[in-house]
């Protein structure tokens, strides 16, 4: 059963969940929990708020399961819900700007050896730079890197045009490359 779930597409799992198969949801959730959580987390400086938003996104998915059309792709639909939730959060003024502070930098999971301290430093710098991006640029970057969405899908999620997404991504990468000078080795 678990193996068959692994080979099943997101869309089929979602369809099965709509018809009452809760195991399908479990499998679906297991696939997207990490990337979605990180996507939300990168958009918020407050860890507790990120958890709250992340949970709320899944609750919306659960509530909106009947609205999901089997013909549509699940992942863009999921991230659109997350994106809208984050936009709502920002518009509510609860968090005006991501503060580029040491606390805002996501700590790395494990201690790295001294040999790779440079890499760790580069990673931390990347997240600082990421937090300093504008929300649209950051969203476009995160949707591409974290969710693995195509430009078309990013445009669909963010409700913008293809060229706009391309432009945002280009600007984001330019700023990140500039900030990550010396990390090429």
């Amino acid at each position: 059963m678990a193996e068959s779930m692994n080979n099943t597409s997101d869309e089929k799992l979602m369809t099965r969940y709509r018809t009452g198969d809760t195991a399908a949801f479990d499998s679906l959730y297991g696939r997207h929990r990490g990337p979605l959580f990180r996507y939300v987390q990168r958009q918020c400086s407050n860890h507790a708020v990120a958890e709250e938003l992340y949970q709320d996104v899944w609750m919306r998915v659960i509530r909106a399961r009947e609205q999901w059309q089997p013909g549509t792709r699940f992942q863009p639909w999921l991230y659109r819900i997350a994106h809208n939730r984050i936009i709502d959060h920002w518009r509510a003024g609860r968090e005006n700007h991501l503060q580029i502070e040491d606390e805002a930098v996501i700590p790395l999971d494990r201690p790295w050896p001294d040999a790779v301290m440079l890499i760790r430093e580069c990673v931390e710098r990347l997240f600082k730079l990421l937090a300093g991006l504008s929300e649209p640029q950051r969203s476009a970057f995160l949707l591409k890197e974290e969710a693995g969405l195509s430009l078309e899908q990013i445009a669909e999620v963010t409700g913008t045009g293809y060229e706009t997404v391309k432009s945002r991504l280009r600007y984001a990468l330019r700023r990140l490359r500039t900030g990550l000078e010396g990390c090429d080795e």
Binding site: Y29, G34, E51, Q55, L108, I119, V123, E124, E146, L173
Partner: protein, 268 residues
């Protein structure tokens, strides 16, 4: 596709993936999955749907069985109770199936003839016939205490007795009853057959007066003698024994045979 490739920076992606190991806390995972399971009562539905269908089929089957059984035993009970105690078999189904209004009406029609049923038993036993017109009002009174029974005097007259009994028998058929009454009567199975039997059992009591009126004087045994005293003796004895019709026949035959009336009093 080429745009995707152009906008992909391997170095940045590698650095990003190295730092992207965080995952949601387990308690949030548990809350979300719990909410997802609770939102879909699909598993319960799957159990409920067949059980509902099964229950519906069971209810229909049981009601059908009851309906069939409801008809058969009643008919059987009526048939079985006919030779023994017909009053019970008639009254019980009426009470169980009809409401009070219908029950009263049914009893009004049914119990009167039913009250005569014991007479048939006593007749078979060789006992003298009790007055059927008295037992019927008694039963009638017990079932409908709010209504006063008709005075027995009305039953003493032969004509009125005949009419009343006939009405009581024919009323269930002629009178407009509710559909429920008709249906219950049909279900009980005592319709025509039972009424016919009741008429049969009541026939001697009901038609006794009419028989007296149409007494066939040719069938009675007349005195062989031409003596007026003997004829008078027979006449007097018949009157004393209450055989008025016989006495009348004697008078009538005496008049026809001897051309003069039988003297009611002889100078002895």
């Amino acid at each position: 596709m080429s745009d995707n490739h152009d906008l992909h920076d391997k170095q940045i992606s590698r650095l990003y993936k190295l730092g992207s190991k965080t995952e949601p806390p387990h308690h949030i995972d548990a809350e979300i999955t719990h909410a997802a399971h609770a939102a879909i009562p699909g598993q319960r539905r799957r159990f409920i749907r067949p059980s509902l269908a099964t229950a519906a089929v069971l209810v229909l089957s049981i009601s059908l069985v009851f309906k069939v059984l409801d008809q058969e035993p009643l008919e059987k009970s009526v048939m079985d109770s006919l030779p023994t105690d017909q009053s019970d078999s008639i009254a019980q189904p009426a009470e169980s199936e009809l409401d009070t209004h219908v029950l009263v009406k049914t009893k009004e029609k049914v119990t009167a003839p039913a009250a005569v049923m014991p007479d048939a038993d006593t007749t078979r036993a060789g006992k003298p016939l009790p007055q059927p017109q008295r037992s019927a009002p008694k039963k009638y009174q017990t079932t409908r205490p709010e209504q006063k029974p008709k005075p027995p005097a009305a039953f003493k007259q032969d004509d009125s007795l005949g009419k009343t009994q006939t009405q009581m028998l024919s009323a269930p058929i002629k009178e407009e009853g509710t559909k429920l009454q008709k249906k219950s009567r049909m279900q009980l199975g005592y319709g025509k057959r039972l009424l016919r039997q009741k008429r049969k059992s009541m026939a001697p009591a009901v038609t006794a007066s009419s028989i007296l009126e149409r007494f066939d004087c040719k069938t009675i045994q007349l005195p062989d003698s031409n003596s007026a005293a003997e004829w008078h003796h027979h006449y007097k004895t018949a009157m004393e024994q209450g055989q008025e019709q016989y006495a009348n026949c004697l008078k009538q035959t005496y008049l026809e045979r001897f051309g003069k009336a039988l003297p009611e009093h002889l100078n002895e």
